[in-house]
Symmetry: C2
């Protein structure tokens, strides 16, 4: 191998194993949301979000590895050693979530949809080094713990910071955990334990506000057309469904079709003629209960709501 190292194109090719903490973040349903927007608005909308996130990451001394559309991969603990990289990563992730309210207020003011982000944080040993060639190189991370961070992110709901057991073991005396989840993660045998983190104490104290709120029963149920999203692509409509309870962030739906927990959905309210009204809500199935009549009671947590619809049902949760 020495021959290769000394060759012309080598460019500090050495790699090393380092323990780092990885953040992976992504907007829920972003690809589907922008399909309905002007291209100029897409970039403004995306950059408003990314520029806030980039600033927070750099302020916390993260190395930003990748920005792929609305997804961000960053890490803490290399090349600069940061002994407290797990706490730093968790505090950074919480700050990123906390910034979403401000971003959404601006979006709403501009008539743009509200956005929701999921974040996964994982700690593990990865290979770090300069990846690429002299024509294009970057300092980057490679390894299965990078993939695992991306699994955590995919599992996170709107507003959640999910951290792995490896990260939790390093910050357990600092963090406030909202929920402990055990989940069968795609690609992992058995159950993985995930920690839904609400806050972290000094030296980087931050705490997310409690956003839980009660669903209100509608005076009259509203018909809703539901499409499943599979890997960000919209598939056929499901059977008939009705919204029976509503809040700013979730809907309780009675559905003729069984939906599965964690499925991504696109919802359109139906008018009196059973025609979809303008604007789509995106959400994730967070609970499914079979009813005695063969139908299903489904709780959908919203990931994106068009500004207009949001305003409508915040002030008047009945049918428009």
């Amino acid at each position: 191998m020495t021959k290769l190292l000394e060759s012309e194109g080598a460019l500090e090719m050495g790699g090393e194993i380092r323990e780092v903490s990885l953040i992976m973040s992504d907007l829920r349903g972003f690809t589907a949301i922008i399909a309905e927007m002007d291209p100029e608005d897409v970039i403004i909308f995306l950059n408003r979000y990314l520029s806030r996130m980039i600033a927070i990451l750099l302020d916390h001394r993260a190395v930003i590895d990748e920005i792929l559309g609305d997804g961000i991969l960053a890490f803490f603990g290399a090349p600069e050693p940061l002994e407290d990289h797990p706490a730093r990563a968790v505090a950074c992730a919480l700050s990123m979530q906390a910034a979403m309210d401000g971003i959404n207020a601006e979006n709403e003011a501009d008539g743009l949809p509200r956005l929701a982000m999921g974040i996964g944080v994982n700690t593990g040993s990865v290979v770090v080094g300069n990846i690429g060639s002299e024509r294009r190189t970057k300092y980057s991370v490679v390894g299965s713990d990078v993939n695992f961070a991306s699994r955590l992110e995919a599992f996170a709901l709107a507003g959640q910071v999910l951290i792995s057991a490896a990260t939790f073991s390093r910050v357990s005396d600092l963090v406030e955990v909202d929920k402990v989840l055990t989940a069968e993660m795609k690609g992992l045998p058995g159950q993985a334990t995930l920690y839904d983190v609400r806050g972290i104490s000094a030296p980087y104290p931050i705490r997310l506000p409690d956003k839980s709120e009660k669903l209100k029963k509608l005076p009259e149920r509203i018909g809703v057309r539901i499409h499943r999203l599979k890997d960000k692509i919209i598939t056929d409509a499901t059977g008939r469904a009705w919204v029976t309870h509503l809040s700013d962030t979730a809907a309780q739906v009675t559905s003729e079709d069984a939906l599965e927990a964690w499925e991504d959905l696109r919802l359109a309210f139906l008018d009196d003629n059973q025609e979809p009204t303008p604007g789509h809500i995106y959400g994730k199935v967070t609970r499914v209960t079979p009813l005695k009549d063969g139908r299903f009671e489904v709780l959908v947590s919203f990931t994106s709501v068009p500004a207009e619809i949001y305003r409508t049902f915040r002030h008047d949760p009945g049918p428009a």
Copy 2:
């Protein structure tokens, strides 16, 4: 929106819709392969591959959007308009595949595993623009056709260039198609048509050599331990299995467990004491036939073979 455009942090934020051709490439099983390697070797190994790919992409006037570990996303047709971006993308993808032989010869000489790459090419309208912030920006693409290119890539076998129907319609008079596949693609309703491309004619002529070769029946079957890879993570071993026929690039296996088409596997040959011999072969299930005795005949196409094993069974396809 104009307010935002004129604000301090705007930085040429305009986006536009452009038709581009996208290339997504990835090594098969790379994360699992490097789990067994020295970190220094990982970077050398990865950069040998990436530097060849980057050179070929830039020579074909691609914009390299992302390098994420061993995966590359690149596009043709923006910002510089390239009228023939579909042909250029297909020629580039074929050149990338053609370069793998040279890379693998070097790997083999250094005692490193052989690598196999899958490539997807898609053509479509995407939003292009400067994505990020003043602190970190790049010219990038966003949209569902980017996601679709990545679906094609995930579907491609070792050595394949799979192009979408949208790309094919633009290059149909130029390309030589090896196989037309209809596949149920993750995330797409119904069947998608994919074209496995072998060659393209002028102005960018290139043709991949025919690598198909006959499986040879072994004088005696060899026990083999099979682990499934799910999303690059190795899971529990399957039931007992034996290699009955072998070539440089594939094995026919009799398995007590049903394996599914397109599953990724890790294989280790067993010695006379049923202990795994050193070195792992990685492969993808490309055919499954149920046998009358309840077992299954499974064809495994190799995606990575350790240099040592490769040398052994190339010259002597019997048990070591």
